[in-house]
Amino acid sequence: MRAAIKPENDLRLNRRSFLSVSSAAAGGMLVALYLDVSAFALESNQAPQAKVYPPDAFVHVRPDGKIEITVNRLEFGQGVQTALPMILADELDADWSQVIAELAPAADVYKDPVFGIQMVGGSGSIAHSYQQYREVGAKTRAMLIAAAAEKWHVSADQCRTENSVVYGPGNRSARYAELAKDAARKPVPDKVQLKNPSQFRLIGRNIKRLDSRAKCDGSQKFGLDLDLPGMKIAMVVHPPVFGGRVKSFDDKDARALAGVRDVFEIPLAQGTGVAVVADRFWTAKQARDRLKIDWDLSGIEHPDSTQLWTKFKEMVRTPGNVAVTRGDEKALETIPAANRIVAEYEFPFLAHTPMEPLNATVRFEGDHAEAWVPSQFQTLDQVAVAQALGLAPDKVTFHTEFAGGGFGRRAVIDSHIPREAALIAKRHRGTPIKLIWTREDDVRGGYYRPMHAHRVEIGVGRDGMPAAWRHVIVGQSLVAGTPFAAMMIKNGVDQTTVEGTADTNYNVPNFHVSAHNPTLNVPVLWWRSVGNTHTAFVMETLIDELATRAKMDPIAYRRKLLKPEAKKLLAALDLLEQKSGWRTNLPKGRAAGISCHECFDTAVACAVEVSIENKRPKIHRATVAVNCGLAVNPLTVESQFQAGLGFGVTQLMAHGAITFKDGRVEQRNFDGYTPPYIMDAPTTVDVHIVPSNEAPTGCGEPPVPVISPAVVNALSKLTGKRYRSLPLVSV
């Protein structure tokens, strides 16, 4: 990738004041994604320097009393556009009713303090910016107090703050808005005392989302809603097989439509395609449908699901590159065959299909450009747009647009969406080009959660606990061939393939995990909770099977098998046990299923109540216990878990798979690839948070892995069958 390019972002912000804040994790290691910061800082290819956070870049106290807080993340449902302002406003003692939140453009100052690029991923929005936003808030408050103290000729410690007002001795008081101008001239304190949790006024409280009303009355603008003067709509025909190339095309019928402005061949991330530019969406779509394209599909692999499963099943029966080995690998063979379990699992490709179809808008002005993208990877996408246009990255003003979901799909290493938009915009200088991928483009467009096969051999000890565990996983690497490979592939194993298994909290004395990362002609990508989507399913269904075999309660069995160090998960299990008393008193035809899993430093335990209706699992209830450190906004945590469980049901849907035949994707839209509707998701979800003042950890991804194994564990009780192949075509 573009390791040599270094964007010198000009914020166009007043950099009068600079805060010195050392990077939270320079040289550190993020366990969840196995990325270390120096290597993740792709643009510079060097360890990030100590960061400076000018308060102006994050907070603006307006004369009218409104307090604008800039959010350094994409808002795509996770609630960060409310939670980060809460954190800053709390330390600032701002009047919450006057807080306005804005999404930040791409700029150096808004990079994730841990990852070193501006992004949403790894459930890090709160975890990585909690300290950052507290400090900016506290320092801004200190400057406001300093201004008031000077005005009143008193010392700062004689002043206190509340609801955007500084109070001094006597009956002195001044609103922040009055003080802002003087405060801006005060030096930024190097150090500042942060609140202790008992002083929090917003953090830890149930605060409703700031974006709720606009999202209920149609006024919220998403990337796809952007309307600029003179804007044109672009669509691209992609090759029917990844990497295919246009041999020739006939655009006579397409160009005959009024409102069609351009038709031309463009290079794609894989192969080439044909772009259509028109005045309107419907014109562009009609024109696209009229194109006659002759494709060159020679010399490229034509993936075929049936053949791929055959290949994967062969591979999974051979040892792969070692991810982790503990104890004696041969211990398994010493255990009698009757006490061994052999289990093979299959997981299909999954599409993310966020509700807002993929899009990007770019206007090229020759020596500079502007981009509007609902992006999880702002600074990488900015570089990609710049590169496509032959500009330096600082010549691209990059706006973060609200996104209608993402789930990883808008965090793409090759930035193919904004890159396509930029290539089209390049031919139409001065004209804003909105590239729209239709739903069909999205479903068929690749960047899927990879298909996986697992094979697990377990030797059960006399105590019913696993004494030996040999585990082989087959699945494409998410990062092979990209700059991410250097730090995410270790000993030939993509760490995202084995996360959730290799680092399990279960204590198995003889434990061996290896993996194959075959190369296939299918672009793949992280899908909300990444490797945990399949590893947690395998681990939690097998643990359940072992508990059943040992005739033990599934919670008690897990507790016995967990390492004592797995304190977060143990606390979550304890809370779950307290809150799931309903498990012992279920109506006939219903069963409870249990699972627990820790990922992204958040531990989750889950119980579900399931019956079988119309040959499908009906999830009547879910109870989850969450250990995410301090819950900044418990309402959002609850919401993320209630809905994240439903998202996780995607894996169980009868049509929850992307499949290939002769190189072509067999599904085209939600009729063929069907995410959960209301009746597929749990009817009720009660969420219980383990009380904690530890540093907050993420809640975006951790809900997803637990639901599918819990549901099939319940199904197993109802049917006596074990479910090892997804999607769940039949119960």
Partner: protein
């Protein structure tokens, strides 16, 4: 928007007529003395032709036994959880009319016709596993006036000749990908001719389950 509703009066009229005919003993299947034996054979042969049309996807997809319609030549369950609803017209928020309008919407591939709706459960031509019922069973159902909205032979003929949703089967529009939907195995004219022969033969039904 114009929304056709089935007029109640014609049904009442047909109902009265049918009651009169039933009481008068002039209606029945198979046993009508006015028809010669070979006419019954002709009628049964005609029925098999009719049956081939009724069980074609364009017709049978909306004659399910379940709480949902089907779609496509493979007669898969209608996507997006579309259900029958109390009157065979879906439910509020998810009505048939939410997508199916007065006429085929060929630019978007959605079929349409006046008062698009499911046939009543009494007119189910499939079992609960979505398998078409036998020729004998469909015939019994079609001729059972307690199930068929009280239609006698002539009324059935008229229904096949004129009912707008029946006619739609021969004007089914295009699929979302722009290709033409498959039509029933007979032309509409052949279908009407077969129905006429069958009705003239006294709407005989094959024996069997």
């Amino acid at each position: 928007m114009l929304r056709h509703r089935s007029g109640l009066l014609p049904f009442l009229f047909i109902g009265l007529l049918a009651t009169w005919m039933f009481v008068g003993g002039t209606f029945g299947y198979g046993g009508d003395v006015k028809h010669a034996p070979d006419s019954r054979a002709d009628g049964l042969a005609a029925w098999e032709q009719i049956y081939s049309v009724l069980t074609s996807p364009r017709c049978i997809n909306c004659h399910t036994a379940t709480n949902y319609p089907q779609q496509g030549d493979d007669r898969h369950r209608h996507f997006a959880n579309v259900i029958r609803g109390p009157e065979g017209k879906g439910v509020p928020g998810l009505n048939c009319l939410s997508c199916h309008h007065e006429a085929n919407a060929d630019s978007t591939g959605v079929p349409g016709g006046p008062d698009w709706h499911l046939a009543p459960l009494s007119m189910q031509w499939q079992d609960l596993n979505d398998k078409p019922l036998s020729s004998a069973a469909v015939c019994r159902s079609v001729t059972d006036r307690s199930k068929n909205e009280n239609m006698d032979g002539p009324a059935l003929l008229k229904h096949h000749q004129e009912a707008e949703l029946v006619l739609w089967a021969w004007n089914p529009g295009v699929r979302p990908d722009g290709t033409a939907r498959t039509m029933p195995p007979l032309t509409h004219a052949q279908f009407v001719t077969a129905t006429r022969i069958w009705v003239q033969a006294g709407t005989p039904c094959p024996k069997g389950k």
